[in-house]
């Protein structure tokens, strides 16, 4: 029996009736967490190598595998609880759809990941790709209350729950966030929400990088606490020069006070954007990263932001950059060779700054790895966790690169 026949017998015809992959790997779309577990249990028995896909808009669907498992039919939103500011969604839901449904109930998921609007929720969590709102609302993991995932040998594991505070058992939820699927396929997510901000204002200032870096420091020193505070390269911002964009979100009183504070701290240099302008600035910047072949993030310290930008400019160029200088986080997009990426990672590691490869074609991913240059003792722990969650090495994930 062919692989697809086997899957058909297991999960029914619908599970295999999805668009074919560009590289001819059979694609299967289970419609429930249990179906994912069934499929992976069989994969383990058969020795199939499985790659995990969401909507296929962020990581290219190009890893060599016997089977592509897409989460795109896991697209239900079982619960939105405005009273509790929590929601439960399946991993394959597109973020644009989710965002709309949340907004209809007056709630908001304070994440603005890079990539296209239809990126799946699961892919954002698996890659831990937070956007500029990480400044005010934290990394992806801070938005998760619990997840259900399926291991490489087909076990359904639940961690966390749907309440906002929970220390029952080890925090496997945080482990799944940012593991790029190496520890399982995330199928269901309990989210921490916020009330839809009553006021949401973006202001922007163009200038040289040096000038804007200074302004960013002034803003931080003045104790202003924006939701986003992003330094964008000209190409990314589609402007002549670098752009410093500041976003305030919250109650009307808060936003008004923050705007006044910003004016005072910067001599009124920032220009407020209309709501549609602000929206399109952030959206287009996010989408730009999906148009570059490679994206990575580095996490440094606020006082090293400028130095890190220099280093990036020197080693890989600085055409597509989005940086939160006040928290030392930088996202880079563009084209870079394997050697350059490896060298950059080594240099950064010497500065105690991790580089996480977020997006790249398979040859680059597999050579560079999403992770690498581990600190002391981390490698064996990661290897042990992989053996635990994927004993048959079913998942094709370039967690670490080839040496």
């Amino acid at each position: 029996m062919s692989l697809l026949d086997r899957v058909r017998a297991l999960l029914g015809d619908e599970a295999v009736e999805v668009a074919a992959t560009p590289d001819g790997v059979p694609r299967v779309a289970p419609a429930s967490p249990d179906a994912v577990a069934l499929l992976l249990g069989t994969a383990r028995e058969e020795g199939w190598r499985v790659r995990i896909e969401g909507a296929g808009t962020w990581l290219p669907a190009d890893a060599p595998a016997d089977l592509a498992l897409t989460t795109r039919r896991l697209d239900k939103i079982p619960a939105i609880e405005p009273q509790d500011l929590s929601a439960t969604a399946e991993a394959g839901i597109g973020c644009d759809l989710l965002r709309q449904q949340l907004a209809d109930r007056g709630t908001w998921l304070a994440l603005d990941p890079p990539g296209l609007a239809g990126r799946t929720l699961g892919s954002i969590i698996a890659t831990a790709t937070a956007g500029p709102l990480r400044q005010g609302f934290g990394p992806v993991r801070d938005h998760l209350l619990g997840v259900t995932f399926v291991t490489g040998d087909g076990r359904l594991v639940h961690s966390g729950g749907r309440v906002v505070k929970n220390v029952a058992g080890y925090d496997l939820t945080r482990l799944e966030a940012g593991a790029f699927g190496a520890f399982g396929v995330i199928v269901l997510i309990h989210l921490r929400l916020r009330a839809l901000p009553r006021a949401d204002q973006t202001l922007a200032l163009e200038g040289s990088r040096e000038d804007l870096t200074q302004v960013a420091e002034d803003i931080a020193a003045a104790g202003i606490q924006p939701a986003a505070h992003e330094l964008m390269s000209p190409a990314l911002a589609r402007r002549e020069r670098w752009l410093l964009a500041v976003r305030f979100a919250g109650s009307a009183a808060l936003v008004a006070a923050e705007e006044a504070g910003l004016r005072a701290a910067t001599g009124g240099r920032f220009a407020p954007l209309r709501a549609d302008e602000g929206h399109s600035l952030w959206m287009r910047a996010a989408e730009s990263f999906a148009t570059r072949p490679v994206a990575f993030r580095v996490g440094g310290l606020p006082d090293s932001s400028d130095e890190l930008l220099d280093l990036l400019q020197h080693q890989v160029g600085d055409e597509w950059i989005s940086a939160s200088p006040a928290i030392g986080a930088i996202r880079w997009g563009g084209e870079a060779t394997i050697d350059r990426l490896k060298r950059l990672r080594r240099t950064l590691a010497g500065l105690e700054v991790p580089l996480t490869l977020e997006r790249a074609p398979w040859p680059v991913r597999s050579a560079v790895g999403h992770f690498g240059a581990y600190r002391e003792g981390v490698g064996p722990l990661v290897a042990g966790l992989r053996r635990t969650f994927d004993p048959g090495e079913a998942f094709v994930v370039a967690a670490e690169g080839a040496e």
């Binding site: 509790d84 359904l156 639940h158 729950g161 309440v163 482990l175 109650s251 030392g328 042990g384």
Partner: protein, 500 residues
């Protein structure tokens, strides 16, 4: 102390100095409990290392001997987590109490695990910064213990629990290998092992160095005290506040019996004695005008949802008084009776009114005094049962009532602990929350850090409820070399060193 631990004691004494190894029974008994009165274990030996290197040397020694050990901070835990059996060594970390670095520019601090929580905020204050997680025990508990439990506190509603604030860790694993997790900027090296370690209740190793985030001290603060004539109304008001879109820094509730206890104590805060419940709400931020406006809104919400009156603290002094009553409420309730079981569970905030009523019913059915003081904004309940453990049959009744309260919270969609952890106390409830595969996954993860389950054995995961997991040995690994090694520890270390 078991007789054959004597040679081990000598080697421990060589590492930490004889004064810092405790073997006499009366000394060991002082470590037999944590903050929870219902569990008692007397450790075999107690050792108090004075530096990171000494911790590592002690852990290496115990690793070579295959001996179980338990890390312990201040022992204020409320789940029996820091207790060690007679065959285990208790490693007390309170002498590792140095703040190693405060980096104001990058808003972070590096501390040893035994630093008492509040000391860090005091040290950061001159820089206009603070360490935000503020458990009510903050004048005693250690940051190492906070990391292990993923501790919360009133102000974690807005600013997040301990996990949100830990950037990097140095950890001594069960065999004494040292690992560095996370980076000063908070971005992990690969998967988020810091996130996994926080809340692991001492099962993954000993945190020897902790890097945490500091936040600016809020410039503007408003503290409100709202009182209610029914517990149910107070619960409904909590949901209304949460749904308002304004996130208070803190939103705490105390019920009538808690109010009485506080008002009868030296911490009397002026809570209205005739109220069925009070809500203590705090709003803070960088801007006076914004905080004032938000406070107005919250006041209006509270009034619209049944508050009899809302008091706004007039000055810092009154604010502190209102808070002191809340922070010392456990102590005040402790004086009501000989024993106090502090419970911990979380429910979806919208279910608070129903759950509080059910808890009151359970208390009445069992004839027990249950008082509530808790982090209402998070739905994190602390139903506390006051009793006299000497009364025959009463402990059993307390246990049975606790179990019913836990079942109620789970049925409401909640969980069995929001901040105190599983430890020994909640092991039996874990299967109510997690199936066999999920528990086995936790156990398998533990084996990655500690294959022999030697660090804080018997806590968090109920082993009997785990399903089979490939590559996972069930039961504690027998260690044939252990007995002879105890008799001659140095030779065991030498053998291991040669083997490497």
């Amino acid at each position: 102390m078991a007789r054959d631990l004597a040679p081990l004691v000598d080697t421990l004494a060589e590492i930490v100095g004889p004064r810092h190894v405790r073997t006499a029974l009366p000394e060991r008994v002082t470590y037999a409990k944590d903050g929870l009165p219902t569990h008692r274990r007397v450790p075999g030996v107690v050792v108090l290392p004075g530096s990171r290197d000494e911790v590592i040397a002690v852990v290496r020694l115990l690793g070579a001997l295959g001996m179980p050990f338990v890390p312990r901070g201040a022992g204020t835990g409320l789940s029996g987590g820091a207790l060690a059996d007679g065959d285990a060594v208790l490693i007390v970390l309170t002498r590792l109490n140095r703040i190693l670095k405060i980096d104001a520019r990058n808003r972070l601090a590096v501390v040893e695990p035994g630093v008492v929580n509040v000391r860090l905020s005091v040290a950061a204050a001159p820089h206009g910064l603070q360490y935000t997680p503020d458990p009510s025990s903050q004048t005693a508990c250690t940051i190492g213990g906070n990391v292990a439990e993923n501790a919360g506190g009133p102000h974690c509603l807005k600013y997040g629990v301990t996990a949100t604030h830990v950037l990097a860790l140095e950890v001594a694993l069960a065999d004494g290998r040292v690992v560095e997790l996370g980076s000063p900027g908070g971005e992990p090296w690969g998967p988020d092992l810091v996130g996994l370690f926080v809340g692991s209740e001492g099962n993954f190793g000993v945190a020897t160095r902790i890097t945490v985030r500091l936040l600016p001290v809020a410039r503007a603060v408003r503290t409100l005290l709202a009182d209610f004539t029914s517990l149910r109304t107070a619960g409904e008001a909590v949901s209304a506040v949460i749904a308002s879109g304004i996130v208070p820094a803190a939103l705490e509730m105390m019920d009538q019996s808690c109010i009485q206890a506080v008002e009868d104590s030296v911490y009397a805060a002026g809570y209205p004695r005739d109220a069925a419940a009070v809500l203590l709400a705090e709003l803070d931020g960088a801007h006076e005008a914004a905080v004032a406006a938000d406070a107005e809104t919250i006041q209006a919400v509270l009034r619209a949802h049944g508050a009899r009156s809302v008091l706004v603290a007039a000055d810092a002094q009154q604010r502190e008084k209102l808070w002191l009553g809340r922070k010392k409420a456990f102590g005040a309730m402790g004086r009501l009776s000989r024993d106090l079981v502090v419970q911990d569970a979380v429910v979806p905030r919208s279910t608070l009114p129903d759950v509080l009523e059910t808890i009151a019913r359970i208390a009445a059915e069992y004839g027990l005094t249950v008082s509530n003081v808790f982090h209402a904004g998070d739905g994190n309940l602390h139903p506390n049962i006051s009793f006299d453990g000497r009364t025959p049959g009463l402990r059993e009744r307390v246990e049975a009532a606790s179990a019913e309260i836990m079942a109620t919270c789970i049925a409401a969609g909640g969980t069995i602990t929001g901040e105190h952890g599983i430890g020994l106390d909640k092991l039996r409830y874990m299967p109510l929350l997690f199936d066999g595969d999920s528990l086995a996954a936790m156990r398998a993860v533990r084996h990655v850090w500690d294959p022999e389950e030697r660090v804080n054995p018997g806590k968090v995961v109920p082993v009997h409820a785990c399903r089979e997991w490939s590559g996972l040995r069930m039961g504690r690994a027998p260690n044939p070399g252990a007995q002879s090694a105890i008799r001659n520890p140095q030779s065991a270390i030498d053998r291991k060193a040669t083997a490497r």
